[in-house]
């Protein structure tokens, strides 16, 4: 086990660079989840949305050889599940925790079926991931350059999507409606905001970003597909929202912590020499989940008052006179 390969001085820039890259799919989904939760939707189906986005993205790119088509397919799949989620949570108003779990099981079953149908017999299907860009000037800045400005096109699409969501949430009238709806739906309703409509749109946005996140993971980074390829990234996205205290900027920072841990464990696994090694690399594989949990607990301990939107998870029923 050569630790110099893992955290030596020459390894740090590649570590952070892949940490940022690995953070982005989860961060994208988490920012979208933050947006839907700020509107009062507890969407626990993120894992299912990401997984579907990953599959649709892979299939799109696999058959058309176009990254753009893959990304659009991924977003489309996420939006479709967003519609399903909104149908259950906003229209039918069934219990949101169950809706989320149901959505994940649904997506896992469906994607496993698609995998079995399309790919199980062929040898591992692959697509080529887009090459890293080299942004003029910025990429030459030491440390920050290679970490932030030598990523591939999907990385920047995802970053743009995150910034767009944050902008809408804090700088537009609709974003204000979203936040009002999550805090006090009755007051929002009194101010002539259609609570259900806002929540519908917020879930579609959440679905689109989660689908995009899944597509970025598979089309932009892995280049392969397998059943449950997202491996809990969607659940981590939900956890990130909690530990970012519903503030998308903190959510992104949390995602970076998670991504770096993930990059670290991948390096440790590679440096440890694989299955024959005596080194217990499995504990490092578990590290991203453990760190997420630990930080979630730490935030819960440290929190004096909750930052959770007051109406989170509660369906809104309009009081009608007579």
């Amino acid at each position: 086990m050569n630790w110099n390969e893992v955290i030596g001085s020459s390894a740090l820039v590649p570590l952070f660079s892949s940490g940022v890259a690995l953070a982005v799919p989860t961060a994208t989904a988490a920012v979208g989840e933050c947006f839907s939760e700020r509107a009062g939707n507890l969407n626990l189906g993120v894992e299912g949305m990401m997984l579907s986005g990953a599959f649709a993205g892979f299939i799109g790119t696999y058959y058309t050889h176009s990254v753009a088509v893959g990304v659009l397919c991924g977003i489309g799949a996420g939006v479709l599940l967003g519609i399903l989620m909104a149908g259950l949570s906003v229209w039918l108003k069934t219990e949101q925790v169950i809706n989320g779990i149901a959505l994940v099981l649904f997506a896992q079953g469906l994607t496993a079926f698609v995998y079995g149908k399309l790919f199980s017999t062929s040898s591992t299907p692959t697509i080529s991931t887009p090459a890293n860009l080299h942004i003029p000037l910025l990429a030459d800045i030491p440390v920050i350059g290679p970490v932030l400005f030598k990523q591939n096109s999907l990385f920047y699409i995802a970053v743009a999507a995150m910034l767009g969501v944050i902008f809408v949430l804090y700088r537009t009238r609709f974003g204000l409606s979203v936040r009002a709806t999550g805090e006090d739906p009755a007051a929002a309703d009194a101010a002539a905001i259609s609570v259900d409509r806002v929540r519908w749109i917020a879930l579609l946005v959440g679905g689109a970003t989660a689908g995009l996140g899944g597509a970025v993971l598979v089309v932009g980074q892995l280049g392969i597909i397998q059943t449950n390829v997202t491996a809990g990234a969607g659940w981590i996205a939900v956890a990130l929202v909690i530990f970012g205290r519903w503030n998308p900027v903190y959510v992104i920072l949390g995602a970076f912590l998670f991504g770096t841990t993930d990059a670290l464990q991948l390096r440790i696994q590679a440096a440890s020499g694989g299955v024959t090694s005596g080194f217990p690399y499995e504990f490092f594989q578990a590290l991203p989940y453990l760190v997420t949990l630990a930080v979630m607990v730490a935030v819960a301990i440290g929190a004096r008052r909750t930052a959770q939107p007051a109406a989170l998870g509660a369906p809104f029923r309009k009081e009608v006179a007579g």
Partner: protein, 351 residues
């Protein structure tokens, strides 16, 4: 359309009890999901009717098939009972798969580590070890929730991943079967294996599972504890006001549901796999969520749902062999179930 009809029939006729209504909704969801399943089978390039015929014959068509169904149903039943109890209090433990693996791991470690002189007692000790390990993993979730309000759904799932990595490490290093070519854990001694019931080829874990049904059912419906559980699920504030210690109750429910998942893992190890196999679970921890919901969180409902989904698992294997339909179609059907169940319930009650 079928849903709309049942809506009228059910909501206008108070003679029909709540339970009958729930059963009808479950049946409607099952039928709709099987119809969607037929579409999936067609997409997979097979004809639905012969495929469903092999599904039926592969699950109830022979003694062997029934045995396969029962073998699949045992872990679903044991885990599903614990989940149903916890879900009644809205304690949504979705990390049963990890609790299952830790239970199997503890049971296996005990069975391999202790000398064979314990005889049949070895089985009992290893099953208890499995339940304790799963219960401990559940306890962590409950403790974090009770002490610092950490979300149960997320922490139970994150801990589930951690548990499976612990399992993988142990069977790769200390308890690895070095004679096997792939990654396999050691076998457990004969003394620790569950004996088979003659005829169907089912291990006696089936009776443990069946014995749990009336016990859990009694606890749910006839004890003050079961009452407090329901009260916590329906109105946590009211429960707190009437003196229910909700934190302690959540911990107890997580220990019970984790413990039963761990017990299921230990039973699966001792009755079916006979070795620490990384594919021990077949997703039982997640399918058991479907079992609990489809069974309407009641003990008998869970029994029926476990038998049904066990049959679907067993028949799905036959279908994938005979008709070249990917086994995962079973997973897709399960996923569709839950969605339809939610919709059917809601529409029947009126939006």
């Amino acid at each position: 359309m079928a849903v709309a009809v049942s809506e009228v029939a059910v909501s206008r006729r108070p003679v029909w009890g709540k339970r009958a209504r729930a059963t009808i909704n479950s049946l409607v969801a099952i039928i709709l999901a099987l119809l969607v399943g037929a579409i999936f089978i067609s997409i997979a390039g097979a004809s639905p009717l012969p495929a469903y015929r092999s599904l039926v014959s592969g699950s109830v068509g022979s003694e062997f098939a029934i045995g396969q169904t029962l073998i699949q149903a045992v872990p679903l039943l044991v885990i599903g009972l614990g989940l149903a109890l916890a879900f009644r209090a809205r304690v949504y433990n979705i990390g049963a798969d990890g609790q299952f693996y830790l239970g199997a791991l503890a049971a296996g470690a005990v069975a391999i580590g202790l000398p064979g002189t314990f005889g049949p007692l070895l089985i009992v000790i290893s099953l208890i070890a499995g339940a304790l390990a799963g219960g401990f993993w559940g306890w962590i979730v409950g403790f974090l929730r009770a002490r610092w309000a950490v979300n149960v759904v997320i922490s139970s799932l994150l801990l589930s991943y951690i548990a499976t990595y612990i399992f993988t490490y142990v069977i790769r290093r200390p308890l690895r079967d070095s004679t096997a070519s792939g990654l396999l854990g050691k076998g457990i001694p004969d003394a620790a294996q569950l004996p088979l019931v003659s005829g169907f080829g089912v291990h006696i874990g089936l009776f443990i599972a069946l014995l749990l049904v009336p016990i859990v059912g009694y606890v749910m419906t006839r004890t003050p504890f079961g009452f407090r559980v329901r009260m916590l699920g329906m109105n946590p504030d009211a429960a707190q006001t009437t003196g229910v210690n909700s934190g302690r109750l959540i911990i107890v429910l997580m220990v019970i549901s984790g413990g039963l998942a761990g017990l299921a893992g230990a039973i699966q190890l001792a009755g079916v796999a006979d070795r620490l196999d990384p594919t021990l679970s077949n997703g039982y921890g997640f399918t058991a969520i479907v079992v609990a919901l489809l069974g309407r969180l009641s003990a008998t409902g869970v029994l029926l749902a476990a038998l049904f989904l066990g049959a679907l698992n067993a028949g799905g294997q036959a279908m994938s062999i005979n008709d070249d339909v990917p086994y995962a179609v079973v997973l897709a059907i399960q996923g569709v179930f839950v969605i339809f169940l939610l919709v059917a319930d809601r529409l029947a009650r009126g939006r």
